[in-house]
């Protein structure tokens, strides 16, 4: 066997000693480093500004856009409150009211709550962990543009009176039978945004795991990073079931495959399961990051480290897991066996424990600290009060008999607004006040902030506290009006008045946010006296992130590490310069954050925007049932992504090593499990496999729920083709793996040959998979339909796999991929591990399982 080629290992002293850190940096060195970094990180100006990809730019756009969608969704709520102010109002007709409540819920969840987490994290996470940027800035930019296009498309449908109107959960058969394009707008528009959400989740997980500064071990991470890890993981397991559900739903809407149609063996309950397996964790996906903001503010207010760091980690991880065992508590009235309801009732009570622990940790920190009451803390206090009230009604609702009584009444509306306003909106506003000096380099007004708080806080309680009563008196949700003699009129009027008070509070907040603050002058760098790295930021602004990447040995470095900011500013730490004018950051190991290599980071580009536009076309055209332009758009989107990867990622470096500062020399290229790209692939495929597992779950769900699955005398997939598909795809996997190994040992031609074999085998495998089910009619019954759906899923993934294999082959021929610089091939091989597994599972479900079941 030929010797493997390896990149050189890091060399030099590590960790740095106090003597090394106390050596001053010569003035001219400092100036040279600053000039180089400024050149590398220059934000484009003029109209080119919009090609920026830096997290401080994209994060601000993202946050403002999500906030804008929230205001729009809030206006919809105001319109609904006007309609409900008096019995028999005719401000909105029933149809428009339906569109408004559907879009209010959908927009608040998909266009505000989840994107807001991503936006804030993209903006702040690199600063929390003292890194220069997110590991994949262009991916953030792509995700942002997808979000913007998708959001405008979905919200815009209201202007054409074409909005979805079946409720934010789109239950079939109401939504499958809807004759307008509303459900398609919802399904395709929001799927498009979900893809962007998953992209952001992948990036954030990798950012928290691999881009921490040297020395920041897992026991020293800012708590926010722990929450990011947990929430990112939850997104990976919660969103894919919804994407799989959307996939089935849209196949039914567009091609009449009867997944949710009981007359042909389908079952609307499958949608409810898939939707709520997403929908309940989703509540915690919006709650945890907001409480994470509180976890950053509370220690600053108390002027001491958080009490019970490990307890908060327990609470975040524990809530993340338990929240997946709650979904059926949204389905207590669907006629499931009561013994099953019992499990979900029990798990719903259990999740209170970890959720409560973190609140107690906050309170304990405030009790033992020297509290300096500030505006952010006021909002956090409001959040805790409201959230606890919402949590208590949640405990009530977890009890099945009570749940039956108030199901689909205004009691639920009150409960969910208490949890989400208290658990998400208030902490996020607290975060805006707290972090505003960091990202805008200005301070918000103390006086306006208090006005805004008391308006929103009192308005909120005036609106939603009476709704508990309205619900107990029997008023159902989602009715556009109610009769005079119902006795609900006064409570509704009070709620409407409260809604306007909330709106006034938001108007004050918005004014404060956007008013000119030029007269304010330069603000102090760390106005709250915080202990975490983000408040080492530069005032006035510099776009390099951190001047030099610090060595961390405490949880609150600004409090616990002497002279750290001074040394960061002087460029005493790592990567204090950029000799090639190339954007870079340090990638470290997952557990102990030991420096591994220097990762080049992509700079401004239009290509991610272009890719987003084409991806948008691929999702938006099918809404109107026009498919040719959609396919053309999808093809262009793929071309754009390939171009962007080819020109900017995993290029052979100019030299293999780089002086990283403090005598440390680090490699400038890496491949395999050390790299951010490999982790991103692994995490993405974990999410992708969850979606696939949801489809397989669908197959078995039909089998348990329906006596006629598979129907008697049904035609099955053709066993020979199924076996051939499995065989060829496994061959393709093996050939890809072979290519990686022989390439690594320097046999470039053998690797190219193996890739050719892999491509041919994959194409053959995809063809065989198609032939296996080609004769079945997917519109006739759900059994052939689900077999087809599994086949389509597999073939699409094999298609992606073939493009990747071709990309590596082209890279090898063009000299981009060599035996030493083989990151692409490692990542593609990892992708193919998953495809191989999927091929085997699909083949088993298509070819073997039906035989066992009948």
């Amino acid at each position: 066997m030929t010797e493997k080629l390896h990149m050189p290992a890091p060399e030099g002293p590590y960790p740095p000693t106090e003597e090394m850190l106390s050596v001053p940096v010569p003035h001219e060195e400092q100036e040279r480093g600053k000039a180089e970094l400024r050149a590398a990180w220059k934000t484009p100006t003029g109209w080119r500004y919009w090609s920026a990809v830096n997290n401080t730019e994209v994060g601000v756009w993202y946050t403002l856009t999500a906030f804008g969608f929230m205001l729009l969704a809030g206006l919809l709520a105001l319109a609904m409150r006007v309609q409900l102010a008096f019995p028999g109002m005719e401000f909105l007709d029933a149809d428009r009211f339906n569109q408004f409540f559907t879009m209010h819920g959908s927009a608040m969840m998909f266009l505000f709550a989840v994107p807001m987490f991503e936006a804030i994290s993209i903006l702040l996470l690199p600063a929390f962990v003292g890194s220069r940027d997110m590991p994949f800035p262009r991916l953030s930019a792509y995700g942002y543009w997808c979000f913007l296009i998708g959001g405008i498309f979905v919200m815009g449908s209201l202007l054409f009176d074409a909005g979805p109107k079946a409720g934010w959960f789109m239950y079939p058969p109401l939504a499958t039978k809807d004759e307008g394009i509303g459900p398609d707008v919802w399904l395709l528009g929001l799927s498009f945004i979900e893809v962007a959400s998953i992209a952001a989740a992948v990036e954030l997980i990798v950012g928290a795991l691999k881009c921490r500064p040297p020395g920041m071990r897992v026991n020293l991470m800012p708590l926010y990073a722990w929450y990011v890890l947990v929430v990112g993981g939850m997104i990976l397991f919660a969103f894919p079931p919804l994407i799989a559900g959307d996939f089935l739903f849209e196949l039914e809407r567009s091609f009449d495959w009867p997944f949710f149609d009981p007359t042909r063996g389908g079952d609307p309950m499958l949608w409810q399961h898939l939707f709520w397996i997403f929908g309940h964790p989703e509540v915690y996906i919006v709650f945890l990051p907001s409480i994470a903001v509180a976890a950053m503010i509370v220690p600053t207010v108390a002027q001491r480290p958080m009490v019970g760091y490990s307890w908060i980690v327990l609470s975040a991880v524990g809530t993340g897991f338990l929240s997946f065992g709650l979904w059926v508590h949204h389905m207590f009235t669907t006629g499931l066996p009561q013994i099953s309801l019992g499990f979900f009732s029990a798990a719903s009570e259990a999740v209170v424990i970890p959720t409560g622990i973190q609140l107690f940790a906050f309170v304990a920190t405030l009790m033992v600290g020297r509290v300096k009451m500030s505006l952010p803390m006021l909002w956090i206090a409001g959040a805790l009060a409201i959230f606890v009230a919402g949590g208590l009604t949640g405990v009530m609702l977890a009890i099945v008999p009570f749940n039956w009584q108030v199901h689909d009444t205004y009691f639920i509306v009150a409960h969910l607004h208490y949890t989400i306003f208290g658990g998400m909106v208030f902490p996020v506003i607290a975060g805006v006040y707290y972090f505003y000096p960091f990202f805008a380099k200005k301070l918000l007004s103390e006086r306006l902030g208090r006005w805004s708080f008391w308006l929103i806080f009192s308005g909120f309680n005036i609106t939603f506290l009476p709704m508990h009563m309205t619900g107990l008196q029997g008023m159902p949700r989602r009715v556009f009006t109610y009769p005079e003699d119902s006795g609900w009129a006064l409570l509704n009027l009070v709620s409407t008045v409260g809604a306007f008070i909330i709106a006034a509070g938001f108007a004050v907040f918005l004014y404060d946010l956007l008013r000119s603050k030029k007269h304010q002058g330069q603000i102090p760098r760390n106005p709250w006296g915080a202990g975490t790295l983000e408040f080492s930021h530069d005032v006035p602004e510099e776009s390099w992130g951190v001047r030099s990447i610090p060595y961390i040995r405490s949880r609150y470095p600004l409090w616990q590490q002497d002279k750290i900011v001074e040394r960061m500013d002087a460029g005493r730490f790592y990567l204090p310069d950029a000799p090639d004018h190339q954007r870079e950051t340090i990638v470290t190991s997952v557990i102990d954050a030991k420096p591994l290599y220097v990762q080049p980071i992509t700079g401004p580009a239009w290509i991610c925007m272009l890719a987003a536009v084409f991806t948008g076309g691929a999702f938006i055209f099918p809404t109107f049932h026009i498919y040719t332009p959609a396919i053309v758009c999808a093809a262009f989107a793929i071309v754009c992504v390939c171009y962007w990867l080819w020109t900017a990622t995993a290029r052979p470096p100019r030299s293999n090593m780089r002086d990283a500062g403090l005598g440390l020399r680090l490699p400038t290229y890496a491949s395999g499990p050390n790299t951010v790209g490999w982790w991103a692939m692994w995490i993405t495929m974990l999410g992708d496999s969850t979606a696939f597992a949801s489809l397989v779950f669908g197959f078995f769900f039909y089998w348990t729920a329906r006596p006629d699955f598979p129907p008697a005398g049904a035609e099955h997939a053709i066993g020979l083709w199924v076996a051939l598909a499995a065989l060829l795809l496994v061959v393709s996997w093996a050939a890809t793996l072979t290519a990686r190994e022989v390439n690594h040992r320097g046999h470039v031609n053998a690797a190219r040959l193996a890739l050719c074999v892999a491509i041919a085998a994959a194409l053959g495998g995809a063809g065989a998979a198609y032939l296996a089910v080609a004769d079945l009619d997917p519109t006739s019954h759900v059994y052939p339909a689900i077999l087809w759906a599994l086949m389509v899923w597999l073939v699409v993934h094999v298609g992606a796999g073939v493009i990747m294999q071709g990309y590596c082959l082209a890279g090898s021929l063009a000299g981009k991929l060599t035996p030493l610089y083989d990151a692409d091939l490692h990542n593609v091989a990892l992708f193919w591990h998953f495809i191989g597994l999927k091929a085997l599972v699909t083949a088993a479900v298509l070819g073997l399982v039906p035989g066992w079941l009948t």
Partner: protein, 131 residues
């Protein structure tokens, strides 16, 4: 001055590549127990099978899950090692503190998982029939 390729600290605390996964094992046991219990129950009720085999199956599964969590919790307790050094915060930049912190987190998570498993098993004991 230490070279980046040298290890000064004790061998047993060296970067545990799998240790971050390890803290999730307790909750994972809960998840597997939950899915299996729910799945078997749904199947039993949908197909109209008798409840007693289900009760026995879930009972055995619960005992196994609890035993597994206890075992994980015991390991985590030893890793936390709080009786020896009485150190709660584990916020020093050392391999030892990172090791003990992960033990502490895993220990707390196994307590939560234990409670979760007990909760989820209760309906099987309390319900006489599917309805």
């Amino acid at each position: 001055m230490t070279d980046i390729n040298k290890h000064e600290e004790q061998k047993r605390f060296r970067a545990e590549a799998t240790s971050l996964w390890k803290i999730t094992f307790g909750p994972l046991v809960w998840a597997v127990h939950f899915v299996a219990t729910y799945g078997l129950t749904a199947l039993t009720c949908a197909k109209g099978w008798p409840l007693d085999p289900l009760r026995i199956g879930v009972g055995v599964g619960t005992v196994l899950a609890l035993a597994g969590i206890l075992w994980l919790g015991w390991g985590a307790w030893a890793q936390w090692d709080t009786l020896r050094d009485r150190e709660w915060e584990n916020d020093a930049p050392t391999d030892e503190d990172r090791h003990q912190f992960l033990g502490h987190a895993a220990f707390l998570l196994s307590i939560i998982s234990f409670i979760g498993v007990v909760y989820v098993a209760l309906p099987i004991l309390l319900f006489g029939s599917c309805q």
